[in-house]
């Protein structure tokens, strides 16, 4: 009887453990701090993209300069 009870308790607790969801950063989302991370990542990427645009324009300027020199 005790054995059966122990088995039942064991099965029940293992079920409970399985039912527990894997931890995620829900608190960070609830506090809205995730927006800070998004803002930082977006800023970094926008800076990289802006730098690439500046380089793109400089190359274009050089291309036009050489074109004008040739003709």
């Amino acid at each position: 009887m005790i054995n059966k009870l122990l088995l039942f308790i064991f099965l029940f607790t293992s079920l409970l453990v399985n039912a527990q969801e894997p931890p995620m950063a829900d608190g960070m989302r609830a506090e809205g701090k995730i927006y800070v991370v998004i803002a930082v990542m977006a800023t970094v990427f926008v800076c990289v993209a802006a730098y690439l645009i500046v380089i793109d324009r400089k190359v274009k300027k050089l291309e036009e300069e050489i074109k004008n020199k040739k003709s």
């Binding site: 894997p22 190359v59 036009e64 050489i66």
Partner: protein
């Protein structure tokens, strides 16, 4: 500079290597650059806010799929562009193609650096170590990158221009084949920690649900277009260099 020469510079034959693409209608040409920035910004926002499956061990790091994997796709795409131009060079003997092939390999190599570093961080928090010799994909990609490093050294060590172009184009084909063998074929034959390899379920099968696809596919397209942008700038600088050298 007579009238004839200016006429010639205005209308060179389209198939000649000196043919310069008209730069006047640049707004139509730049659409993919804008698209790439918009797509990546979308993935930065929705990649962190969007719903993901709750999984043990992976937890929130599953979102790395949006940032780590597309970098590797961009790298692989650039290496494919590189071999494409290497073959075109060998078929046409036009060194402009070989320069493009070299530039594409450089951009691909550049993208492999953040790919490896982000992979190390992800591995630390899921597999427990920054680097493991049990994963054939990790070591395969390391060997592949070293093969491309040898390609750069080989190309820079040959002074004769035509010889350099021919040898590096042939080596480029070899390097690409080795890269594909090491990162696509070998990891699928043996046990691997990476998903989709060695009997492990791929992300597409269980982990990548439809919500994730909505971010993952735009991220791949965005980063590939971004690598194309860098590739285009490198080509234009190379073209300016060759014009300056000719003068």
């Amino acid at each position: 500079m007579g009238v004839e020469s200016s006429e010639f510079t205005e209308n060179p034959p389209k198939n000649s290597p000196n043919y310069e693409q008209p730069t006047t209608n640049c707004h139509m040409k730049n659409w993919y650059k804008i698209l790439s920035v918009l797509l990546i910004l979308y993935t930065i926002f929705w990649g962190l806010m969007g719903p993901v499956p709750r999984l043990d061990i992976l937890n929130e790091t599953i979102r790395n799929v949006y940032y780590h994997v597309p970098i590797w796709f961009a790298m692989l795409f650039m290496m494919s562009v590189s071999i494409w131009y290497a073959i075109r060079y060998l078929l046409s003997s036009d060194t402009v193609f070989e320069t493009k092939s070299f530039n594409a390999a450089k951009v691909g190599f550049f993208f492999s650096i953040p790919g490896i570093i982000t992979g190390c961080f992800w591995a630390k928090y899921t597999w427990g170590t920054y680097w493991t010799f049990q994963d054939p994909k990790l070591n395969g990609v390391a060997i592949g990158i070293l093969i491309y490093l040898a390609y750069f050294i080989l190309r820079n060590s040959i002074p004769d221009e035509l010889k350099r172009a021919r040898i590096s184009a042939v080596y480029n084909i070899f390097a690409y084949v080795m890269l594909i063998v090491f990162i696509m074929i070998l990891p699928r034959l043996t046990d691997s920690l990476h998903p989709g390899n060695g009997g492990n379920p791929a992300f597409g099968k269980y982990d990548l649900d439809n919500n994730m696809r909505m971010v993952f596919y735009p991220a791949i397209i965005g980063w590939i277009l971004f690598s194309c942008w860098v590739f285009e700038i490198k080509n234009r600088i190379a073209q300016l260099n060759s014009i300056l050298n000719d003068q």
